[in-house]
Structure formats: structure tokens, C-alpha cells
């Protein structure tokens, strides 16, 4: 995006803003929507926006992975679960009294945390940005993954294996075992 | 699993005779072997053991059975039973490997009767058995055969549609071939809806 064309920065900026807004709007839909299926759509939207931000952070691989894993796998799995578990829409909390208090609490907690962190970000002392020694190419990631971080890689793969087996066991056992 | 092999006509007659004796009705078992198709049977209502009388309206008919000879009729054995005996006869035929062919009615308006005709065929032989029973025309009621032959279910629903005969114990007698709101019975002779 650093070609010498005059308007390129502006264009990039616009696209950046759009991505960021998409992400935030998606996230808002995801937590606010009454229908759970719309929440999932919001999540997918959020992921696409986030993928855009990743692209601006010079890691297109992550951007694509974000879409592949979140939209292509996570969201679809969630929708599938929604179809299985909720053939009919659940009535979202309607009883007003306790709900209002709970909502206010949630808002309060979120606001406090947000305010604290945001202050930290804006006012906090930051080290000066450093120049990178290399571009984060896929090859570099791959090499690092299998050398420096091989332990983490193995651990994650074991975790995933356990998750698959566990998911199978739970979903299968839930059928007959519970009584 | 596969239906038992077909009984011979003699065996069938014997079985019916035994059954008729068992129900201790004034039974008539007759055979008209070797005679030509009997033109009077069923409709003409000539009396005599060969073609027994269907009882007059209101009065129970006498159960009887016989072997039918001659190709014209298209069936080989017929029996007339009382409405209450239909299920038993059905079971008797079921045990001998018969399959349900059809259930239908005939409206004898002049005699004030409804006739129920049950056809049975044997899957692995040519044997065809007809069982009839007569009920009064108004308020006709027959026990359902669908517990013995589940296939009778639809035939009985259809017969109920067309004749208004009520099959007691039938799971569902709602209109079948007729529209859902039908309150008429088109095959009764006094129905004049058809062109």
C-alpha cells in the first residue's frame, strides 16, 4: 500500500476506518441482537473487520486465517448448534425488573474496565516503535512455529486433539449417559 | 415369515365347517361342485341350501359357506357370516396365509340392507375367498378387520366414505378419498349427486 500514488494513503485510511467500524458494528450486533442467529452474523462481520485490521498490521496470513477459522469454521459450527439446540427462537429475557439491574451492572463493569484500559493506552508510557528486522512472511511463521515455538505448537495440537475427543465424548455421552 | 403354503379347497371347507360348528349357529355347509355358475346366488335370493337366503331386514342371516365352481365367478370359496364374526373369519384366513384383497360394500336398498364384501387372495396360489356379511342399511355397523389385516384400514375408510358404514374400533374414519367436509355417501343408491 506504499506505492507512490498520491491518494493511496487516503484510500488506505478510508478502508482502515471502514474495517474498524465493521468490526465494532459486528461486535455490537453480536452482543445486542435478540436473535441468536443474528449474533452469529454479527460475529462473522466482526471477524471480517478484524481481518481487515490484521491486513493493516502487515500480516495478511493472519487476516486470511481469521476468516477461514472464524467465519468458515467457528461461526458455522455455532449456527449449526443453534439449529440443533434451538429450533425455535428463545424469548429473550423479558421480565423487566431483575433484568434492568443486571443490565446496568454489566454496563457498569464493562465501562469501568474500558475506561481503565483506555486511559492506560492513551496516557501510558510506550516504548518507541522499533523497526522490524524482517517481514512476517508465512515462511518465517512456519519456521518459527517448528523451531522456536515448537513446544507451544505441540501443546496446542494436543489441546485441539483433546478438544475433539472431548467434544465427541460429551456430545455422544450426553445422549445416553445422562439420566 | 413367508406365508404358509396355500390350503386346498377341501381343507378350507373343513376349517370353515369346523369353525361354523364351533360358533354353534344353525350352520349350513354345502357344496355345489360340478354345477354351472349359479345365476341366482347373492342377488336373486332363491331359497334352498345351494343358495342360502340372506336374512330379511332386521333378522340375522344364517352363516354358511360353500365352494364355488366355474370360471365365471372368479372366486373359489365364499362364506356368509354375521357381522360379529367378521374378525374371527379374518383371523381364520390370516392364519392360513391369505392376503387381504379388498373390502367393499354393496347397497341393497330394496332389501334395506348393506352388504359387506371381503375379498382375500392367497399370495402363492390361485385361491380366492369371498366373505360377505349383511347389516341393516340404516346405522350399519361392523367391527373393523384392520387389527388382523392392517391393509383393511384403508379399504374400510373408503367403504365408510362411500356407504356410511361404521367400522367399530377403526382408528380413523375421517373422509379419505372424499373432501374433508364431505357429509354424503356417494355409493348409496339414494345418492343422486353424480351426473
Amino acid at each position: 500500500m506504499s506505492a507512490g500514488f498520491p491518494g493511496v494513503t487516503l484510500w488506505a485510511e478510508i478502508i482502515f476506518v471502514i474495517s474498524a467500524l465493521t468490526m465494532l458494528a459486528g461486535a455490537l450486533v453480536a452482543v445486542m441482537a435478540h436473535r441468536i442467529i443474528r449474533s452469529v452474523c454479527g460475529l462473522a462481520l466482526c471477524c471480517i473487520g478484524l481481518a481487515g485490521l490484521y491486513a493493516f498490521l502487515r500480516s495478511p496470513f493472519l487476516a486470511l486465517m481469521q476468516i477461514l477459522i472464524y467465519v468458515g469454521a467457528v461461526c458455522i459450527t455455532i449456527v449449526f448448534a443453534v439449529m440443533l439446540a434451538e429450533p425455535d427462537e428463545p424469548a429473550e429475557p423479558t421480565s423487566g425488573h431483575g433484568e434492568g439491574v443486571w443490565l446496568a451492572c454489566a454496563l457498569l463493569v464493562a465501562a469501568v474496565v474500558g475506561w481503565g484500559l483506555a486511559t492506560l493506552v492513551v496516557k501510558g508510557p510506550w516504548a518507541t516503535p522499533v523497526e522490524r528486522v524482517a517481514e512476517g512472511s508465512v515462511k518465517a511463521i512456519g519456521i518459527a512455529l517448528l523451531t522456536t515455538h515448537s513446544l507451544a505448537f505441540e501443546v496446542v495440537s494436543v489441546v485441539l486433539l483433546v478438544a475433539i475427543v472431548g467434544a465427541l465424548a460429551i456430545a455422544h455421552g450426553g445422549r445416553g449417559a445422562a439420566r | 415369515m413367508i406365508s404358509p403354503s396355500a390350503p386346498s379347497l377341501d381343507e378350507l371347507t373343513a376349517a370353515f365347517a369346523q369353525w361354523l360348528a364351533f360358533v354353534a349357529a344353525p350352520a349350513t355347509v354345502s357344496e355345489t361342485k360340478g354345477t354351472a355358475p349359479d345365476p341366482g346366488a347373492g342377488v336373486g335370493a332363491t331359497s334352498g341350501p345351494a343358495a342360502p337366503v340372506a336374512g330379511a331386514a332386521g333378522e340375522p342371516a344364517v352363516p354358511w359357506c360353500r365352494v364355488v365352481e366355474g370360471k365365471a365367478k372368479g372366486y373359489h370359496f365364499e362364506a356368509q357370516v354375521l357381522p360379529g364374526q367378521v374378525v374371527e373369519v379374518g383371523r381364520l384366513l390370516f392364519d392360513r396365509g391369505f392376503a387381504i384383497d379388498a373390502v367393499t360394500g354393496v347397497d341393497w336398498m330394496a332389501a334395506g340392507q348393506m352388504e359387506l364384501v371381503y375379498d382375500f387372495f392367497h399370495p402363492s396360489s390361485a385361491l380366492h375367498v369371498v366373505v360377505r356379511c349383511r347389516v341393516p342399511r340404516e346405522g350399519a355397523e361392523v367391527p373393523t378387520l384392520s387389527e388382523v389385516f392392517p391393509g383393511a384400514n384403508w379399504h374400510e375408510r373408503e367403504t365408510h366414505d362411500f356407504f356410511g358404514i361404521v367400522f367399530t374400533g377403526h382408528p380413523d374414519l375421517s373422509p379419505f378419498l372424499l373432501p374433508e367436509d364431505a357429509d354424503y355417501h356417494p355409493l348409496r343408491k339414494d345418492f343422486a349427486g353424480a351426473a
Binding site: C41, G72, V79, V138 | -
Partner: protein
């Protein structure tokens, strides 16, 4: 290519869109003509010479139809789904290099990008089905998900096998690696993996399943589910789903041609060019049509069995075999 970068990109995107639109429309015509030939009848003949204007007539008909939204449907999602279904196919095609210098950008991650955007498509069809609130559509949506999840795995395994052979995810480079005669195409690269033709067949089967084509058209199995997820769609809403199906076939076949059949490389090593790519692409498309009009539909569990019990083990085996072969030689 003297145009400044953003304009070149835009121009290219417009070109791709036109290409997709034209192809989607005319693939319908190809399908109808092809089906007709397989069944020994003429197919569309009335609108234009040899029925060539038929797609326009179809489009005009679909456009003139009323857009109906069923009363129980989730209106937003119902309207959104057709839009969502077309976008990923366009994005994917934008990464496909048609010729040596005919490609949007030589993306290092082209292959990953195709799969990343390809996965959105499923989500769109599923949402369309779900939002219709129609029983057939919901059954169809549930089928689509399990089918796509099941076939994504062998597809990925096959593609990873191929990545091991080519050593790059850049589609341009993958094609360049196959330069020089048809024996250098990946599908005949028996040194890297003696089962390469099988790999190609697995890819093709997965591609059919991923694009919901017969004999794997569980989603819109017309004799079971009427029109599946699209049952409630009328007019152009349906038309867009229909076009997206063909756009996806186009993507799948392009990828097949690039990964296995040497993209724009000529089979004799000389006269390479975009023509060869199109030839291979349409040969694959023709095969897709041919398969559809030959076979009956698979049963749903048969389809899943095929994937889980045959394709995944086989493609895993091929993956292992390839890695061993690459290490040895």
C-alpha cells in the same frame, strides 16, 4: 500495465465481475445445452441463434418477478443472504491468475485466500435457508453445513499435499512451476507422489461436493426438498443463488486447472497463454455438467460416509506418502 495500482486493481475487479457475470449466465446456457445433448434433445433454441440469448430472457423474467419475503422469515437475513453468497465467489476469482500477466495481483497467499473466502459462501446459503423459516429450507441448511464441513477436510488435505509439492501458496508461482509440457503438470507429477491422479480425483469430488453439485446436491435436492435452501426465494433472489452456484463452479474449476493441470501452460511446452487456461477451465466445467447429467443423487449418509470413511483416510495417506517421497527424493 501503466495504470496506477489502485486503478489497475479496480479495473481488474470490474473485469472479473464482468467475467463472472457473463460466465455465470452462460454457464447456465452451457448446462442447459449440455444436458440437452446428453439427453438427445436440442435445448434452448428459440431466443437468439441457438438459444444464445436465453440467459438474457431468463434474467429479464426473473427481474420482472415480484420479490416475495415469507411473512415468518427473518427479513434482514433473508435479503442479505443472496448478497453474501455472491461476494466470496468474486473475491476468489480476483486472485485467480488467468495468464502470465493476467491476474489481479500476484498474491503470496492466493491459495489461502481462495479458501478463506470460499468458506463464507456456505454461511450465506445456510443463512438464506435458515432465514426462510421453511421446513425444507432448514433441513437443507443443516445438510449443507454437515456436507461442507465433511468435504472441507479432504479438500484441505489434498491442497496441503499439493503445497508440499509446489512449496508455495502463490498461484502464479504454482503455475510457473509446471511449465514445460504436460508431463510436468502436477497431476502427472508421479515422482512427488505416485498417487497424484487419485489426488486430482479426490480434489474433483470434493469440489463437486463443496459447490453442491449433483450427485452431491443435497442442498437443493429437488425431489426431496423442493428447492432446498432456496425454496422461498423468488425472482432475482433465486437468480443470484443460481448464479453464485455457477460462479463457485468457476472458482473450483479454475483452481483445479491451476493446481493440477498447469494453468495457462500449454501441454507441449510452447505457445502458453490464457487460451490454454480457459480451455482447461471449460473442460473441467464440462465434466462437472457431464457428471451431473449422468448420475443419480447420493444419499445423505452415503455422502458423509464417502468423505469420512474413504476420502479423508485416503487423502491423509496420500499426504503421508507425499511427505515421505519428498524426503526420500
Amino acid at each position: 500495465m501503466t495504470l496506477p495500482e489502485p486503478f489497475r486493481l479496480l479495473a481488474y475487479l470490474a473485469g472479473v465481475m464482468a467475467f463472472v457475470g457473463l460466465n455465470a449466465a452462460y454457464l447456465v446456457w452451457v448446462e442447459r445445452k449440455g444436458a440437452a445433448r446428453f439427453q438427445r434433445r436440442p435445448g434452448p433454441t428459440e431466443v437468439g441463434p441457438a438459444g444464445l440469448l436465453q440467459p438474457l430472457a431468463d434474467a429479464a423474467k426473473l427481474l420482472s418477478k415480484q420479490l416475495l419475503v415469507p411473512p415468518d422469515a427473518d427479513r434482514t437475513l433473508f435479503r442479505l443472504a443472496p448478497v453474501m453468497v455472491m461476494a466470496p465467489a468474486l473475491m476468489c476469482l480476483a486472485t485467480i491468475p488467468f495468464g502470465q500477466a493476467l491476474g489481479a495481483r500476484s498474491l503470496d497467499l492466493g491459495l489461502v485466500m481462495v479458501f478463506a473466502f470460499g468458506s463464507i459462501n456456505v454461511m450465506a446459503i445456510m443463512l438464506g435457508g435458515w432465514a426462510s423459516r421453511n421446513k425444507y429450507a432448514i433441513i437443507s441448511a443443516a445438510r449443507i453445513v454437515s456436507q461442507n464441513v465433511a468435504y472441507e477436510i479432504p479438500m484441505m488435505l489434498v491442497v496441503i499435499t499439493l503445497l508440499m509439492v509446489t512449496g508455495t501458496t502463490n498461484l502464479q508461482e504454482i503455475v510457473e512451476g509446471q511449465a514445460g509440457g504436460f508431463w510436468r503438470w502436477n497431476v502427472f507429477d508421479l515422482v512427488a507422489n505416485p498417487l497424484m491422479p487419485v489426488t486430482f480425483v479426490i480434489y474433483f469430488i470434493c469440489m463437486l461436493a463443496e459447490t453442491n453439485r449433483a450427485p452431491f446436491d443435497m442442498a437443493e435436492a429437488e425431489s426431496e426438498l423442493v428447492a432446498g435452501a432456496f425454496t422461498e426465494y423468488a425472482g432475482m433472489g433465486f437468480g443470484v443463488f443460481f448464479m453464485a452456484e455457477y460462479a463457485n463452479i468457476l472458482v473450483g474449476c479454475s483452481l483445479g486447472a491451476i493446481l493440477f493441470l498447469g494453468g495457462w501452460q500449454s501441454p507441449f511446452g510452447v505457445f502458453s497463454g490464457v487460451g490454454w487456461f480457459l480451455l482447461k477451465l471449460y473442460a473441467l466445467v464440462f465434466t462437472v455438467v457431464w457428471v451431473r447429467w449422468t448420475f443419480p443423487r447420493t444419499q445423505f449418509y452415503g455422502l458423509l460416509n464417502l468423505s469420512w470413511k474413504i476420502l479423508i483416510p485416503v487423502s491423509l495417506g496420500i499426504l503421508v506418502l507425499t511427505s515421505v517421497m519428498l524426503k526420500l527424493f
